[in-house]
Amino acid sequence: MAMRRFKAVMCSLIVAFVALCFLLLAIGSVDIPLKEVLSVVSGNMSSNEAWNFIILESRIPLIVTSALAGAALAVCGLLLQTLFANPLADPSILGISTGSSLGVAIVMLMAGGSFGVVAYGYFATLAGALIGALVVMAVLLAFSSAVKSSTVLLIIGVLISYLASSAISLLNFLATQESVHSYVVWGMGNFTNVTLRQLPVFSAVVVVGLVCSLLIIKPLNALLLGTRYAANLGVNLRLTRNFLLLVTGVLTAAVTAFCGPVSFIGLVTPHISRLILKTTDHLRLIPATMLAGSVMAMLCVLLSVLPSDTGLIPINAITPVIGVPVIIYIILNRRKIFYFN
């Protein structure tokens, strides 16, 4: 029964995923006939060099980036929600994204470069984002041993986020107009920043992070019972928690560095997955959440490319439109939703 539901959900998500792949290949600011698109994808270059370039250098990286980033953010949200036993935990609310942003801001604004400039390179941005994320993680971890309530910890995360934002404002104030502009554009969220050349690095980091999340399915399920029960079931709490925070830190940092601080996908997708799967068993929840995260991100990208004459709409202008109604629905119905209490 439960297994049949899981299979049905996975099949539906795969169908949606494939459909979105085709739509994102076919739709864009330049009209390319679908037949030409398919022949380029299958290896037969079109006579139109521009079309080849658009498909290979822009559309395919966009699809891969959004699929991986969506999966990464959704899994981060799920892991943090389980660890903190709080349905509102996610990388952006806990301040991890903002920590990453601060790291990126330091690299981009202090160093005076803009994203992708060869002199500093995306490795510097990635390192900045990673250090920022891990510093926030470390602070949260330090507080979590002193603060028992996960709600209080969540509030501390929000406050850290404000602190990081204030530092970012200061950096913006001191930086040149040019770098402020590139930082603001980066901050709006964008899955088109990853070039074909950068794609292998981004993909490798994200895929490793996603695979790592699969390694802690068993302790995650034990953590649903709370830390004492989990410890009594043989879970090494410190190891599991540190591993989990490292995985979320790396995933959040990678996505934030390349795509900007993308909001709401991490918060909302785990809830959607639980609601459609009707379980909180991580063995089924993690794969479904990854796939649902990809579908969510690709859907947002599709919405961002649809009004083709104005160029791309920033991703962070779209995610709240999808995310906020879902969160309000969940908050209003929390007494009726099966996985609360």
Binding site: A85, K218, L225, G226, R228, Y229, N232, G234, T279, F338
Partner: protein, 338 residues
Amino acid sequence: MKSVLEAHNLAIGYRKGSDKKYKVLGNLNLSLYEGELVSLLGANGTGKSTLLRTLAGLQPPLSGDIIVNGLPLSAYGNKRLSKLISIVSTERTNAGGLTVRELVGLGRQPHTGFTGRLGAHDKSVVAKAMDDVGIAYKAEHFVAELSDGERQKVMVAKALAQEAPIIILDEPTAFLDAANRVEVLRLLHVLARENGKSILLSSHDVAQSLALSDRLWLLMPAGTITEITPEDAVLSGKMSELFGSESVHFDMLSGEFLYKTNAECGVSVEGDDIMRHWCGNALRRNGFVIVAGSGCNIKISSPSALELTFGGEHIVFNSVEELTAHLVKLKKEGELWK
């Protein structure tokens, strides 16, 4: 008898920082034997939960040793310990989205592989655990749909599925109604007797603990723990000292703690045991003390014929209610016990 869990000169409590210690209890020497059910009784806030957590290896002791099956507790890793001790705690869980079967299945984690997938044997252990606590009919329900009492049973089933020889339970009957309380304790008693499990539980249900425990650990107000059988605890008067309260005393006959009343208002009651018990219940509640041979005597021949003899007068009442009302009136007017 073989002891499975021992404490030697154990001090329990909390560490604040690297050297500050907040001691809850100290100098404890305890043993839990194979196949026995032990109830830990004591007042609120005396450290029962801290002691249980420490013995289960979930909280480091301040000093002293805990020995599990002949080896120090610290010598076991989390993994090995999870096969020896299972717990039921009062911790809030976040498992509403699992079915009862899935949650009980988590109890198999010490025995399953990397992904936690259950094999055929695991599944049958889970099914038996659910049967034993009587929650099998809700196996496919979400835990969120259950009442507090049903959840408690599910956690007990989880502990059973873990198949550890030692089970430590912190107030396992706290949320249960009277029937379920008896059922769960009876089940634990059977597990100790027939399956040789060693069961340690804390409880506020004194009457049930006296009835079903092989031994008691009495956590006295002075911070010491007395290991004693229930009967000796009652007869030696240890039970009366348990709560160190001026206003409550232990009634040896009923095995319950009762409110101390003004000893001057003594009433004697004659009749069969049941009628004496319940008439006494009403009188005690209203501030009288049941004594032997008082000048104020009640003779009960049936629930509707209660004869009060007092100061040469004989009045027959039709119910306990009428009798009690009359006595209360007399007491207020100062007619009795001048």
